[in-house]
């Protein structure tokens, strides 16, 4: 072999550049087709007055975005989105850390408990949420039944009928839904901590609380940040829980940007406005991603 042949491969398949391109192309095509293209389309739509019935694009500058912004429902949805994501993920982190702690322990029937914990995540979201719809039913809610049996209430709670209860309900179901994913992420992080460290903590005489707050949580902070990132993005971008449970009601008290984009754009027909609503999620998500990734990197450099 001379250097000549090394520089100029005889066959295309010998060319590292060609091969790199070839092997990368599925990913690139995937990202462009399924992420980039719809995203670009959403941006374009937000500057037009496009409707579901009229595919022609007429640019109207900021009119569509202004119309969306001036809508009081949008403002409410914006606030709800924030609180929905923040409150649910606060609970998700607490719950996930606890669950992960439990799941890394050895006990009888561990596989079954693991299975149960993961169930909300593997079950199709809409199907699972339908079960919640029944659980929170105004008349037949088993929660109400239980509360009545123990004498805590004598009237039904109307979980989805009262604004604050409805918000609590969608947050609770969202937590129930995301916590398993977060728990698995945190669990992976826990298992990555060498066993020796856990043993050292025990020999050094730390109790469960010290172990949790001085060892586990600081060591898990980067991985918890990742779990939070996923949780927040899921809470903001995925509308299934709210769509099925409340459709944004009562009186838009549980309306979030993702559901509002759907009702506005698809059910209402104002596609451009729907895209503009959805687009408001984008800077928020980018900002959050940047913040969390930066936090994660800082923790990594110990």
């Amino acid at each position: 072999m001379t250097t000549q042949t090394a520089k100029k491969p005889r066959y295309l398949a010998d060319s590292p550049r060609f091969l790199a391109g070839l092997f990368m192309s599925p990913t690139i095509i995937y990202i462009v087709a399924l992420v980039g293209f719809p995203f670009a389309l959403a941006i374009i739509y937000a500057f037009t007055d496009i409707t579901t019935g009229d595919p022609s694009l007429e640019f109207v500058g900021l009119d569509t975005i202004k119309a969306v912004w001036n809508d009081t429902v949008f403002r409410r949805a914006l606030g709800n989105t924030f609180w929905f994501a923040v409150i649910s993920n606060l609970f998700v982190v607490i719950l996930a850390t606890g669950l992960a702690e439990l799941l890394t322990r050895d006990f009888k029937g561990k596989w079954f408990v693991r299975f149960l914990v993961l169930l909300p995540w593997v079950a199709p979201v809409s199907l699972a949420t339908l079960t919640w719809l029944w659980t929170l039913d105004s008349v037949f809610s088993p929660i109400d039944w239980l509360l009545r049996q123990v004498g805590l209430i004598d009237q039904n709670m109307y979980w989805l009928g009262r604004p604050s209860l409805a918000f609590i309900s969608v947050v609770a179901v969202q937590v129930w839904r995301i916590a398993p994913l977060a728990a698995v992420i945190v669990m992976a992080g826990m298992m990555a901590i060498p066993k020796d460290v856990h043993d050292a903590v025990e020999v050094d005489g730390a109790g469960p609380w010290r172990r949790l707050f001085e060892i586990n949580i600081p060591l898990l902070a980067p991985i918890i940040a990742v779990a939070v990132l996923f949780g927040v993005i899921l809470s903001m971008a995925d509308m299934s829980v709210i769509y099925v449970l409340t459709r944004g009601g009562p009186t838009h008290r549980t309306q979030v940007l993702s559901t509002w984009a759907y009702f506005k754009g698809i059910e209402g027909g104002a596609l451009g406005q729907g895209a503009a609503v959805a687009l408001f999620l984008f800077p928020v998500l980018v900002g959050l991603t940047a913040v969390i990734l930066r936090l994660a990197r800082r923790r990594e450099v110990l």
């Binding site: 019935g53 429902v73 459709r247």
Partner: protein
């Protein structure tokens, strides 16, 4: 096909639909598709019951060939679909067109239509939806010729369906609406007998008085929703009209901010505090049906499908469910149609327009079997095509006890109107509907978040924005 039963008297379809099935169907995949395939030459199935109307056939006037791909909902009365698919395919064989039918959950239909039209290459030649599709006007075939042909053959179309398919501003039929579904009051006779109204309420005053008394004496509440879903939207529009209020006038101008609207809201606040619970804010489209069949509601506004399900499931409550026409308010007594079938043909080169139009004529020709196989759920927009309808309603072939129960529906065209009344069902009206502005207006006041006047003003500003938006597109006057 025997539909699977779900708890509390629901067919799988209703269960899926009401549960927010867009997502569900995506998760379940093709399970939601109930397309029936028939061996060549085999005709549509029949109920084999006496009095069943026969399929009639007329040669197409245009020369047609190729494929006809139809997308429509999975009917709430499953028997309809097991009849419809072979019916359409048999027609295709007779005229030399390959007919393919996709049924999807009705919640998914708007998104599917939007996606196919946005793509510029729709996969279907004919779409059907159970609500008005006026927003699609710019990208669909004008149905004027079809309507004229149908009227020349089958007599005048109902004003109700015309106003739900015709845009007077552009003078264009954006859809073809050959059938509709009435929305009577469904009440529990035993409960109303106890308050001296054995025939159910006939006015809103009676609804309030009787409903309140039933609630306080018997603990069963009324079922008029104020939630962000279709039935609440329908019921509250009926209330507004009967109180002399409306969203727009006959010319498409926003007139919601009126004393009449405030009157309707105040009435609803009374109704809520005396005869209902917070449940009504939580409802989805299935809730009032479920409540009626479960015995927890004394009166709801709905089609007969909940009742048919109760019958099919052998629920005792079926015999106790009776129907009333629209309740009278201070001004009049009208309600919206429960379902308004809109068929549209997307205006693209690849679309088999001729076959689609000919099929719609064939469908109109056979509105009698349509009504029959939907168990009298679907009503014709060309009443002449179903001369037996009133006889069937007098003596329900599908097992009502007593069989005269559905008589109330005989003159339902007198008390039913279109969304957008007294104006046309234009896209602005559709968007107001889609965003549930009317139920939210009522709920804001009922929950005490706003005074009735504030709630109306808030709704008005949102509605004005929507109307101005569509006015800018030239689709409304």
């Amino acid at each position: 096909m025997v539909p699977r039963r779900y708890p509390r008297g629901f067919t799988r379809r209703e269960f899926l639909y009401f549960g927010g099935a867009a997502l569900l169907a995506a998760a379940c995949g093709p399970a939601a598709d109930v397309t029936t395939t028939l061996a060549g030459g085999q005709g549509p199935s029949t109920t084999g019951m006496p009095g069943e109307p026969q399929i009639s056939f007329r040669e197409p006037t245009q020369s047609i060939s190729g494929e006809l791909n139809i997308l429509l909902w999975s009917h709430f009365v499953p028997a309809h679909d097991s009849w419809f698919d072979p019916f359409a395919k048999a027609w295709g064989e007779q005229v030399g067109v390959t007919v393919n039918i996709d049924h999807i959950n009705t919640a998914e239909v708007p998104a599917a239509i939007a996606a196919e039209i946005q793509s510029g290459q729709p996969q279907h030649d004919l779409f059907q939806h159970i609500a008005v599709l006026s927003q699609h006007e710019p990208s669909v075939v004008d149905m004027t010729d079809l309507v004229m042909e149908a009227e020349s053959r089958y007599g005048t179309m109902l004003d109700l369906t015309r106003r739900s398919s015709y845009n007077p501003h552009t003078e264009k039929y954006y859809a073809y609406a050959p059938a509709w579904v009435p929305d009577p009051g469904d009440y529990r006779k035993s409960l109303w007998e106890a308050v001296g109204l054995p025939d159910g309420p006939s006015t809103y005053d009676e609804l309030l008085e009787g409903g309140s008394q039933i609630f306080s004496d018997q603990g069963v509440q009324l079922g008029i929703g104020m939630s962000q879903e279709i039935d609440s939207n329908m019921a509250l529009r009926g209330l507004m009209w009967s109180f002399g209020a409306s969203i727009q006038d006959a010319d498409g101008q926003v007139v919601i901010n009126s004393d009449e609207t405030i009157g309707a809201i105040e009435y609803m606040m009374d109704l809520y505090s005396n005869a209902m619970t917070d449940e009504v804010f939580a409802w989805n489209a299935a809730s009032n049906n479920q409540g009626l069949n479960a015995g927890t509601l004394s009166y709801i506004l709905n089609s007969i499908s909940a009742y048919r399900t109760a019958q099919d499931d052998g629920l005792d409550v079926a015999d106790d469910i009776y129907f009333t026409p629209a309740l009278a308010g201070p001004e009049t007594a009208i309600v919206a149609s429960h379902v308004m079938y809109n068929w549209i043909i997307p205006d693209f080169e690849s679309v088999n327009v001729a076959a689609a139009q000919e099929f719609l004529l064939h469908y109109t020709e056979n509105l009698a079997p349509v009504a029959w196989h939907s168990k009298l759920y679907d009503f014709p927009a060309f009443p002449d095509r179903v001369p037996e309808l009133n006889n069937w309603l007098d003596n329900d072939p599908f097992g009502s006890n007593p069989p005269t129960k559905l008589q109330v529906l005989k003159n339902s065209t007198d008390w039913a109107t279109n969304i957008g009344h007294p104006g046309p069902a234009n896209p602005a009206v559709g968007q107001v509907f889609g965003e549930s502005i009317i139920p939210v207006m009522f709920a804001e006041a009922a929950q005490g978040n706003m005074t009735p006047a504030e709630a109306v003003a808030d709704a008005e500003s949102k509605i004005n924005a929507i109307f101005n938006d569509w006015r800018g597109r030239g689709l409304i006057g």
